[in-house]
């Protein structure tokens, strides 16, 4: 790695054990400067542990963490140029909003007039300039959230860490804060490392996402990457909805696998995430990529068991001959296309290139 493309954060083989529990299992990650990077995963997947290790609240059992090429793993939290927005905000209750925001700069011994200037800048950035003399307890949850953000941004950290900062807010507020966070990230140019279990949050805000599970990084990529080209079954299942059908692999040539379905038919699917010597796997197809056709059409035969009208879409559940249930979502239009009744025998059409071969 040369000097021009220094990574903001570089994690090398980081592991963390709590007693016998492996919270992080040999994780390596590179986070580029100015990136909105999200650690996404179910609770207990190690994402918060990783964030706390970057912040300096947990020490790694092994591995290294670099902040712009500087090894920071051994540094205490107060000597790392990263700031955290905590899940429960942790605003200092005995200080005013302005004092809270100024605290980091005060500890860094920034000159007084600059502290004043940067405090009001940070507060206007989160649209709370007029609240600077209030106590945190006099603010609403959303306002407290934004004070926490201003407090973490004011010392101009190299990287901002956000630990599920929106999870304590109600839905409306959460949605508007997403746009707000994204705007502030662009405006400040600070690298954001965002932890969440909410995939919608991750997909809408992030430049890149690391999907984590069981202490491991399962896949790193853009929202489009991980939705359309998941690496494994966990990612395919965790991000959005998917249909998984077991198949036998006949051959793999240039990342295209010829797979045999339970009904004997052959299907060509993308297989860039598969080891060459594997014999069985599952194909993953998103509900909106499957199509329904009349019984006489070419396709996998099945019976409609549910039909749910969802406004923009209609969702059909189809039971196949091997009892696998598929979810198929088709957009509602002017035509009579999505009109299938429960109990009706139909064909499910998988267009070429739509299915993706995956393993666990």
């Amino acid at each position: 790695m040369n000097a021009q493309d220094k990574m903001a954060i570089s994690i090398r083989n980081a592991a963390k054990q709590f007693g016998n529990f492996i919270a992080l299992d040999n994780v390596s990650l590179d986070i580029a400067p100015n990136e909105f990077f999200t650690l996404l995963g179910p609770s207990g997947c190690g994402k918060t542990t990783l964030l706390r290790m970057i912040a300096g609240f947990e020490t790694a059992t092994q591995g290294e963490i670099f902040l712009y090429d500087e090894e920071i793993e051994k540094l205490p939290a107060n000597r790392r140029s990263v700031n955290t927005v905590f899940q429960q905000y942790a605003l200092f209750p005995h200080m005013t909003v302005a004092e809270n925001v100024a605290f980091g700069m005060r500890m860094l011994k920034v000159p007084k007039d600059e502290i004043t200037k940067r405090t009001s800048e940070a507060l206007s950035m989160v649209q709370l300039a007029e609240f600077s003399h209030r106590r945190p307890s006099q603010l609403s949850g959303g306002q407290q959230q934004r004070v926490a953000l201003a407090r973490a941004l004011a010392p101009k950290p190299k990287v901002l860490l956000l630990d599920e900062p929106l999870s304590a807010l109600d839905l409306k507020l959460r949605q508007s804060m997403r746009a707000e966070l994204k705007r502030i990230q662009r405006q400040t140019g600070i690298t954001f490392v965002f932890v969440t279990h909410d995939q919608e949050e991750a997909l809408t805000m992030s430049d890149r996402i690391a999907v984590m599970s069981a202490g491991k990084v399962q896949q790193v990529g853009t929202a489009k990457d991980i939705y359309e080209r998941p690496n494994n079954i966990f990612v395919a299942n965790f991000i959005g909805e998917t249909n998984l059908i077991e198949v036998k692999i006949e051959s793999i040539v240039k990342s295209v696998a010829n797979c045999r379905m339970f009904d004997g038919s052959l299907i060509a699917c993308t297989a860039d995430a598969i080891a060459a010597n594997i014999k069985t796997g599952k194909i993953s197809v998103r509900p909106e990529r499957l199509k329904l056709a009349t019984k006489s059409s070419k396709g996998i035969k099945g019976v409609v068991t549910q039909s749910i009208y969802l406004g923009t879409d209609t969702q059909h559940i189809v039971r196949l001959g091997n009892q696998t249930e598929l979810t198929i979502r088709s957009q509602n239009g002017d035509g009579p296309d999505a009109n299938y009744e429960i109990g009706q025998e139909i064909s499910v059409v998988i267009d070429p290139g739509v299915a993706r071969l995956l393993t666990e």
Partner: protein, 272 residues
Amino acid sequence: MKSLDIKKYPGFRAITLFCLFILYGPMLVIAVYSFNSLRSITSWGGFTFAWYLKAFNNPTIQVAALNSLFIAVVAALLSTMIAVSAALALARGKTFKGQSALFALINLPLMIPEIVTAVSSLVFFIAIGFNLGLLTILIAHVVFCIPFAYLPISARLQGIKGHFEEAAQDLYATRWQAFRFILAPMLMPGIISGLMLSFIVSLDDFIITNMVAGPGTTTLPIAIYGMVRVGFTPEINAISTVLLLTSLVFVTVSYFLSRNAPKNAKTKPLQH
């Protein structure tokens, strides 16, 4: 909770008044008669401050009062410092085996009969050849004041939920700065409450003090006891009233501080 309104029980008012009278009546009598111009405690001869003046000018009481104040102040400061450290270690450190046993050990002096502590302290000091005097009183007071200081402080600390120390350290504060600027101010009502309680407990103590004081060293309670044995004078009323008022003020302040404690201890979001 209307059905449980205790005021509706028959005789509630009478019983309450009777209990309060038994508790505070004698003290009230002492306080009132400390202003009596007669030496009697049964007949009123008119209002006077004379006994207060006399008490304040009594050299024995002066020395005893100074000793008491000195011991109470130093014992309160030291025991509160120890209590803060203990509370922080127990609440903020990692949980360890025997944690609840340790908690019980810290608070045990509250349950042990004072005379036992007194005798064992005396035996201990004699066994190690320590000269009895002001210093032995001080040591003993620091020890038995710790649980009184510890309780309000640890209660306050338990009310502080959230990652405040981590937040401070994340914002470039050293561990000391995190304590000095964040945790200590948040703990302050508990600390003040602890200081006051231990000050009062030290100021009022008789049994242990009497045991480890050694010859010639007096504190106010010991001086009062000595005077009562020789013969009752209204000076005792006056000095007791001063002690009573001091206690009352301290306990009241301590009560109000700890009552307000949980209110501003947390910054929980309003929406959840």
